[in-house]
Point group: C2
Chain length 322, copies 2
């Protein structure tokens, strides 16, 4: 784990520098403060680090992927700002969400600004222009799918029952395609074959799905302090996570589900029930299967430090505590 | 005027077809219905028609600009959806705004979807990839400026006094740069010289500023039925339009300014005062000057039907009744 930490640290410090370079402050100051609020509050930089590692794993030029990696992190942060408005979440990364710290109009605009900046940054890629256009197409398409996935997620809240198949399609769009873009945009910008680029896409897609399932489990079993966001908010909001879908399938009754507010004790009680009925274990197993399927896509690549780190990182995503 | 109408009709019907082609329905259905709600309700298609005319005026290939023209109209509609949330406007183009007909989360997502689709459409331009990347850079930069302009507009509402200079910078960003993109993206995608492309940009920028000043005047003196949006909402919201800035400079007192609600009679009374004190005329004159300055940029082009139509269209923008 120490080696993985160092490998990630090395790449994420490149990203931190690039974020400062590509996302400078501007005027009006309040708009730029709001738009940089979350991205400067930290975050694990998993997506841009994945973009760098994937580029190394195909023997590509890392410099060619830096703007794209920053663009992806920027898009990720844009979606967080808008999602927090839609879900009315109060905290993220241990700080107030943008619409809470400022207001809804400013948060909408802060997200829109990041979205536009992400595409402006992408145009600064130094690959041949044909590949740059393809990369922009890929990322624009991913953004459309993220919106579709977020809409599915919201509409699921109002449905009594959701099929596991539909849930998997929802997280594929909402979360996994941006991971897929992260792992394949470097190979694309480095003129890799379609076959390699597609395998790298699939790797990110499966791992991203596993990541989201695990993330939902963490929302339940993780420690409030480490998460830095509202504990149990998924239960209160009536979110159809895999844990809940499986519990509903088992006929388990969670009293506070969709009730908007509850005491910490009531939340703890709900979490205990979800653990005991086997739904947490079921979800963890599913996450593991998806990540394994993702890792098997990398068979196409020769062995390398970067490939091993990509695999370790994927394993970490479904074993982390925050 | 009949000739202008026909010239515009010809081009806008090309645009209507292209909008249908480039913005098909998708799943989830409600998200796509919401995102297409305003763009299908009509609109004057001034920006994409300008894009076609400007391309013809530089002897360019119109086919090369169609996706970009649709992308610009798509971006325009994305900004309308989000602006309507921020301003909490109820009607536009004679129909309910998206967040009124659906809800705020759906409207945020509908706008985001259009934004992403606009960039995806842009990547389908058939010009050489280097130019396509430049066009995407131009439009992404324009979107950043639109956000900055919208933020300025909102923060002006809370300020007792706004300088005319700051107001002009606000409308340049909020409105004019998208017009500038409309008139210059065709020349850019058709490999015109930097000099011509820059002149075409300036044309759109000045005309766009004149358009916005006139649009604000229309909000006051236009007929409610023809506008299809909330009458006098700018006064009630405390918007710093040029008319109001000039009236405040003259020490004129408008009682309902920033009061959120008023009777039709009170609105009419406020409008009469703004007319009588000379602020409406002052604004109309400013709009005229800006449009003239824009038109003079076209001196670089040889005479043609398209050039004449561009000029007539610019004149129309500051004389229309809706």
């Amino acid at each position: 784990m120490g080696a993985l930490k160092n490998s990630i640290k090395e790449r994420s410090s490149i990203i931190e520098e690039a974020i400062k370079e590509y996302l400078p402050m501007g005027e009006p100051k309040e708009l730029y403060k709001a738009s940089r609020h979350l991205i400067m509050a930290g975050g694990k930089r998993l997506r841009p680090v994945t973009a760098i590692l994937a580029t190394e794993a195909v023997n590509g030029d890392v410099n060619l992927v830096i703007p794209a990696a920053v663009a992806i992190e920027t898009i990720h942060n844009f979606t967080l700002i808008h999602d927090d408005i839609m879900d009315d979440d109060l905290y993220r990364r241990g700080v107030q969400t943008v619409h809470t710290r400022w207001d809804v109009p400013t948060a909408i605009l802060a997200g829109d600004t990041l979205f536009a900046e992400a595409f402006r940054i992408l145009t600064q890629s130094k690959s041949n222009p044909e590949r740059v256009v393809q990369a922009i197409h890929m990322l624009a398409d991913v953004c459309v799918k993220i919106c579709e996935g977020q809409h599915m997620d919201m509409s699921f809240e109002k449905m009594p029952i959701v099929k596991e198949k539909d849930y998997l399609e929802m997280i594929r769009k909402k979360t996994a395609v941006l991971y897929a873009a992260s792992s394949s945009i470097g190979p694309l910008l480095n003129d890799c074959s379609t076959k390699v680029t597609e395998k790298m896409w699939k790797f990110g897609e499966y791992v991203g799905m596993g990541f989201q399932i695990y993330d939902d489990v963490l929302d339940l079993i993780g420690s409030k302090e480490k998460l830095g966001k509202d504990w149990g908010s998924d239960i209160l909001q009536g979110k159809k996570t895999l844990v809940m879908i499986d519990a509903l399938n088992r006929g388990v009754n969670i009293e506070i589900y969709g009730k908007k507010s509850a005491t910490e004790e009531e939340i703890q009680n709900a979490v205990d029930i979800l653990k005991e009925c086997g739904s947490v274990d079921y979800s963890l197993k599913k996450a593991r299967q998806l990540v394994d399927k993702g890792i098997s896509q990398l068979d196409i690549l020769e062995d390398s430090d970067a490939k091993r780190t990509l695999i370790e990182l994927a394993e970490f995503l479904i074993s982390r505590e925050f």
